[in-house]
Amino acid sequence: MNEWAIETRQLSKYYGDVKALDGLTLKAPKGSVYGYLGRNGAGKSTTLKVLLGLARATSGEAHVLGERVRPENLAILERTAYVGENKPLYEWMSAEQMVRFTRGFYKSWSDEAARRYAEMLEIPMRRKIKKLSKGNRTKVSLLLALAQGAELLMLDEPTSGLDPVYLDDVLRTLVEHHVNEGRTVFFSSHDLSEVEQIAEWVGIIDNGKMLLEARLDDIRENFRTVIASGNGLPETGENIASVTRDGNFRKYVLARGGESFAASLEQQGAAVLEVKAMSLREVFLALLRKESANVSVEVLA
């Protein structure tokens, strides 16, 4: 049986001349919480839309829950719940009516789960959507997705614009859903702290390309910053994710083997000023502000 909830190979998508995805290769394991990181316009939303058949890929292939992605693949839509970036809902309906409208589409819909999440998230179910705050709209969207009983939850910026209280509620609900039900949660974000809070796997995308895909624990364990000074320091090398130059100083980000790399620099006569473990934020910034980056997406997978 396929171990990947989502798998793409060399996936590209062009909107006219604009390249939204550029040979994207991504693997999200089943049963994981996968944080999909990138700047605004990096291609996160496009990835989700292609995976759901809302947009056609220009080239490459993708599978979701073992099903090949194509427009209107109902087998994927039946098993996948999606919350879009703008949380689209029918303004004239109440949250209760949205629930009644949505449940008719899904065999695996759970009224009990809908009730539970409505209580847990304290959603005013009888109020019209147009009168709900942004936070409550997000909660309604999330409730509709969670009560579907879907194997895969795909969320596009689920927490954008939420205040810290709402944010905590939503993240807690996602983790509980994942832990209790053993489902896959794939969510895009540009907020590193929330990804660090709940994700097990992380993918970092920029300009439609995957820069890094790895377990969050592996990133914390293996990524190192090495600051060194000297002449003739290497600009490229195995495991060097990025290099920043400042006069004779070099700041290296290494995907693994930071200590041995520092030792080899010292052997070459360089002065190693610092070898430091990195947080996800530092890795993210290093990859996106890179002067050169060559980390393989397979490096830690």
């Binding site: 759901l52 809302l54 427009p71 209107e72 689209p88 303004e91 409208f101």
Partner: protein
């Protein structure tokens, strides 16, 4: 539940159209029936005498009532068809940015589109039917047709109005189909409405040019042939069917556009 959503979105427009048409129909019936004020002695003998004595006037009044009601069915039907997709067609999903929500439900886009389209057409025809029946009922009450004096004329008028709904169905389907297709093509109900008006006006211009200016008979379905059905002549029924089939090509085109379109 999707059908329920369609109904809820069309509801305001449908009820508004129904109110307007029935109000106008009632006003037409009321104002014209007042012309028969001298028949207010509704006793069978008196009205029968008046009926035979003033036969031409009676026919004239009934003819005017019929024409006013026919006008309502025709204009109401065409305007209703034009604005129907504006009220709740699939194009509104793009306008309200809910297409992403709807098209990630596990249903074929074609099914969603056709469900919506047939729902709109059914509601439009239902409005016309209710208008005609309400108008006939109000006329029956205003003229006390049960006395038997007016009944034959009343019956004929009602049948003609019901046939008018049938006769206008191809045009209503055509206009509604064009408006729905244009809305999906433009991803906007207002732009779609404008495009539909342009297409229909263009068609009418060509029709006038060929039929009136050059005296060329075209297989059109304007009032000349549709009027024959209202008169009980069904010799052009095949042409009406052909027009309905052509009209269905527009929502079919909308379906194909919808299936190929990226939701962004």
């Amino acid at each position: 539940m999707y059908l329920w959503k369609c109904w809820r979105e069309y509801r305001g427009f449908v009820l508004g159209l129904l109110f307007l048409l029935t109000a106008f129909a009632f006003l037409a019936d009321y104002s014209q029936s007042r012309r028969l004020w001298w028949t207010e002695d509704y006793s069978r003998a008196a009205s029968s005498a008046l009926f035979h004595g003033m036969h031409k006037t009676n026919l004239g009044v009934f003819h005017d009532i019929q024409e006013m009601n026919l006008g309502l069915v025709v204009i109401g039907g065409l305007l209703g068809a034009l604005f129907m997709s504006n009220a709740g067609g699939v194009a509104t999903e793009f306008e309200h940015k809910t297409s992403e929500l709807l098209f990630t439900r596990p249903r074929k886009r074609a099914l969603l589109m056709w469900t919506n389209w047939w729902c709109g057409l059914f509601l439009l025809e239902a409005v016309l039917l209710v208008t005609v029946l309400t108008s006939s009922a109000s006329l029956a009450i205003l003229l006390h047709v049960w006395d038997g004096t007016w009944f034959a004329l009343f019956q004929k008028l009602t049948v003609r109005l019901l046939l008018a709904i049938l006769a206008m169905l191809p045009m209503n389907m055509m206009v509604y189909g064009i408006a729905s297709c244009a809305g999906v093509l433009c991803r906007s109900v207002s732009k779609g409405l404008l495009a539909a008006v342009e297409v229909i006006a263009g068609y009418f211009g060509i029709y006038v040019l060929l039929q009136v200016h050059f005296r060329l008979d075209t297989p059109n379905w304007w009032f000349d042939r549709s009027y024959s059905i209202i008169g009980g002549d069904f010799s052009h029924l095949e042409l009406a069917l052909a027009w309905m089939i052509i009209a269905l090509l527009f929502p079919f085109a909308a379906q194909k556009i919808l299936e190929r379109r990226d939701v962004v």
